[in-house]
């Protein structure tokens, strides 16, 4: 059964059409890698899935709930979908621990002790339990991104969205974040990952998609995508990136 379904999703910024009809679906437990040139609408698309952007035409159904203007649905979907941003977006005025417990306490209404226990568990999972009492500004980029992943996981989401999670990182830190993501993928999490890390795609993706100019150009298994792409656009893209 597919946990995310989109039908002919279209999105305009003023006169500019950023998404020109995207139809796709994601099965539960699937890891989907989305790539494509800059400006092709990848971010816009995954941001539509948790309503950080609003699509104007088409349908998006997440876990059986359709995204409309109904605030209740939006809140329900947001608490099922975790998101990790390119620029981390941690809350700088809160400690790492507070960053992770905040949503549990205020949105999930858990008590403090329980949330802190969960937070420590997650920090151990992403490999930085010793940083719990520091502020985000005192951590390296890689550590910050891992905190951001832990923060999203704290809501116990069914789906995780990653928007170029390693693009703002120094090369030596990319691996530590990718390792966490690989572990997450193997644990059976449904993931949509926008990334240019082709190694990651080859290793853990179940499917790879190529966006170009607001359209979904190719959708394939990693094997086929890299070795035997259907479209010429994909060949061109791969030749530029590899």
């Amino acid at each position: 059964m597919s946990i995310i379904q989109t039908k002919d999703v279209k999105k305009w910024f003023g006169d500019f059409q950023a998404l020109k009809g995207i139809t796709m679906d994601v099965a539960e437990g699937e890891v989907l890698v989305v790539c494509g040139p800059s400006g092709s609408g990848k971010s816009t698309f995954i941001r539509c899935i948790n309503r950080l952007e609003q699509h104007q035409e088409g349908q998006i159904i997440v876990d059986g709930i359709e995204l409309t203007n109904d605030l209740k649905n939006i809140e329900a979907i947001r608490s099922e979908v975790g998101m990790v941003f390119q620029s981390f977006n941690l809350f700088p005025h809160l400690t790492v621990m507070q960053n992770i417990t905040l949503a549990q306490i205020w949105v999930r209404k858990k008590n403090r002790a329980e949330s802190e226990e969960k937070a420590m568990e997650l920090l151990e999972r992403v490999g930085i339990p010793e940083q719990a009492q520091k502020f985000p500004g005192q951590l390296s980029g890689g550590q910050q991104q891992r905190v951001a992943i832990a923060r999203a996981l704290a809501m116990e989401p069914k789906i995780m969205l990653f928007d170029e999670p390693t693009s703002a990182l120094d090369p030596e830190m990319i691996k530590e974040v990718l390792d966490v993501m690989k572990e997450l993928a193997k644990s059976g999490m449904t993931m949509i990952v926008v990334t240019h890390e082709m190694g990651f795609a080859k290793e853990v993706a179940d499917r790879v998609m190529l966006f170009d100019d607001g359209m979904l150009v190719e959708e394939n298994t990693p094997d086929e995508f890299f070795n035997n792409p259907k479209s010429d656009r994909t060949k061109l893209f791969l030749s530029q990136i590899l």
């Binding site: 948790n50 309503r51 950080l52 605030l71 209740k72 809140e75 947001r78 608490s79 979908v81 975790g82 998101m83 941003f85 620029s87 977006n89 941690l90 809350f91 700088p92 005025h93 809160l94 400690t95 905040l102 949503a103 205020w106 949105v107 209404k109 502020f135 985000p136 500004g137 005192q138 923060r151 999203a152 809501m155």
Partner: protein
């Protein structure tokens, strides 16, 4: 020991005499500073200066003409504040400890300061006599200078040499507050100064008899100090009660309201009005707000929402021009505003609950202010406003900030709102208020405001001034806070959305704390400006702290003669203003440092 001196000499040389330029600068500045203090001391010590003009007018300075039989109200207010402060310090008692060497060092430095002034004080000082001739007078003889120097040198030597013994302990930093406050309270009992006394013919007895200072206030102050201390211990004891911290915060929120009404009037509660009109009105509007909050996400309500808004608006219009009680009219206005705002902010059940609390508190405050502000005060002061002097300045500063800060937060949020009506109204209020000088608003308060109030409602001049002050500083706060809001990156909003926070949680937990932190320095300077600007109320006939010093005391002629003694008073006033603003800015620097931790 020798090492230490060598080391400090070296660091002195490095910081002050590192090059020819800096040596010249150091010497010139030292010369100027010493001369400045010599001049000041000479001025302060000559017999031409009558410091009794300041000392003997403390009551005037504090409360002006507030009736003496009602002083107990003032004392109770001060006492209540200290009790709350004591409880809070106890509950939030920090575990930080101060090293004894730090304390001794500050004593040593204080001693050095006294030494410095005693050494540079001039022996002779000149002043202009009444006939225009220059009179030279000995102000500090060598003997009395030695009399001060020797004990102070011994004092310094003791605290300097302690660091070479192994006397070393630590003190809890919260405990230190009480130690430092203990000193002035104890001094009240021991220090004696000349005091003005009148003989049977109502003439000043010359020379002035020497008496303990503050003979009339030392008992209240001691009682207050003791209750402060006691509540500190109680606070430590209460520390572990579950929601004690929120209770304390709420008490601090209510305290100014309580003090305000308590100082302003003898309670005159007309039970028939309370039961027959206030309570029913209060209940109706509480229920109305409750219903709006409950059904805000209901489909049927949503469908007819605009109809509901229209009807409410028409009702309000009709109500305002009808003979309804003032409270009902204001509540109608409030419910219209509330109905517009609710759908935008209320989504989760948590948000709904906080909204209901906000609504109830708003109604209580409103009822209280309308009943409190608009009725007769019961405290009569012939020919003057209820009080003046420091209490007026303090009231304008504290109450002005107290009301205007939340108002500023709301206006700033409103100006950033997505709803056009709210945005336009908030922008209008901010721009209108800021584009007119404060003095004009003061005249508006004293002369024009009554025209805009419904017939039968009359506010005391001080209340009216408070109203315009709240809006005036609120507008400035709003603009500062808006600047802070603009400095928050879009990613912060998105991150909060992505983890499912409601708009209310997003603003209060993520956005506002960061925005406020970014603007603390500007907020503090706004608060300091508001504190100092409060002296402008003299223009509409209120007697603030400065006016008392400059005008009132300068005109006291019989039986004392303080005419022409306004310089002493001005120096005193300036020092008091300085102490308060300086403390405020130092505190804010500390807060900034503490909050700045996350920024690195």
């Amino acid at each position: 020991m020798v090492d230490l001196i060598k080391k400090s000499a070296k660091s002195l040389q490095e910081s002050l005499f590192s090059s020819v330029g800096s040596s010249v600068l150091t010497i010139a500045t030292t010369y100027l500073v010493i001369n400045f203090f010599r001049g000041m001391l000479g001025f302060a010590l000559t017999s031409d200066k009558d410091w009794l003009a300041v000392l003997n007018n403390m009551q005037l300075y504090m409360v002006q003409a507030y009736p003496e039989e009602d002083f107990i109200r003032v004392w109770l207010s001060v006492g209540l504040t200290f009790v709350l402060a004591g409880l809070s310090i106890g509950i939030w008692r920090s575990e930080a400890r101060v090293k004894s060497s730090q304390v001794f060092n500050s004593f040593f430095k204080g001693g050095l300061g006294v030494l410095f002034f005693t050494i540079i004080a001039p022996t002779n000082a000149s002043f202009m006599g009444n006939d225009g001739s220059v009179i030279t007078e000995e102000v500090l003889s060598m003997d009395s200078r030695l009399g001060i120097l020797i004990p102070v040198v011994i004092f310094c030597a003791i605290f300097f040499s302690i660091r070479f013994t192994n006397v070393s302990f630590t003190v809890n930093s919260s405990d230190m507050v009480f130690f430092y406050l203990f000193i002035p309270v104890a001094l009240l009992w021991f220090v004696k100064l000349p005091t003005i006394q009148l003989n049977q013919n109502n003439e000043r007895i010359i020379p002035d008899p020497v008496m303990p200072i503050a003979s009339s206030t030392k008992i209240p102050w001691t009682v207050i100090f003791v209750s402060f201390l006691v509540s500190y211990f109680i606070g430590m004891y209460l520390k572990n009660i579950k929601s004690i911290k929120s209770i304390m915060s709420l008490s601090w929120f209510l305290l100014p309201l309580l003090i305000f009404s308590w100082i302003f009037k003898k309670p005159q509660i007309d039970m028939s009005v309370v039961l027959g009109s206030d309570l029913p009105i209060f209940g109706v509007f509480l229920l109305w707000g409750f219903l709006v909050i409950t059904f805000v996400n209901n489909a049927l309500f949503k469908k007819y929402y605009s109809t509901y808004l229209g009807v409410t608006f028409l009702l309000t219009l009709a109500g305002v021009f009808s003979g309804l009680p003032m409270l009902a009219k204001t509540c109608l206005l409030l419910i219209t505003l509330f109905s517009v705002v609710v759908p935008a902010v209320s989504t989760s059940s948590q948000g709904k609950r906080s909204l209901l609390i906000v609504w109830a508190v708003a109604l209580v405050t409103l009822t209280f202010l309308l009943r409190g502000g608009a009725s007769d005060t019961g405290i009569v002061v012939p020919g003057s406003s209820i009080f003046g002097g420091f209490s007026l300045t303090w009231l304008l500063a504290i109450f002005g900030t107290y009301v205007s800060f939340p108002l500023g937060v709301l206006l700033a949020l409103g100006r950033n709102s997505k709803l056009p009506i709210i945005r336009i109204v908030c922008t209008g209020i901010i721009e209108l208020t800021r584009s007119v000088p404060y003095i004009t608003w003061l005249f508006f308060a004293s002369v024009t405001l009554a025209v805009f109030l419904p017939a039968g409602v009359e506010f005391n001049l001080i209340v009216r001034v408070l109203m315009v002050t709240a809006f005036f500083s609120g507008a400035y706060f709003a603009e500062n806070i808006r600047g802070g809001l603009q400095s928050i990156p879009k990613g912060q909003y998105e991150a909060a959305d992505a983890i499912g926070m409601s708009p209310f949680q997003k603003i209060s937990l993520i956005i506002m704390p960061q925005a406020l932190r970014a603007v603390i320095p500007t907020l503090v300077s706004s608060a300091i400006t508001a504190f100092k600007d409060s002296s402008l109320v003299t223009i509409i006939g209120l007697f603030d702290f400065l006016t008392i010093g400059k005008t009132v005391i300068g005109n006291q002629s019989i039986p004392v003669n303080f005419v022409g003694h306004d310089r002493e008073n001005l120096i005193f006033v300036a020092i008091v203003y300085w102490i308060f603003t300086f403390t405020l800015s130092r505190r804010s620097m500390k807060v900034e440092k503490k909050l700045g931790l996350g920024e690195r």
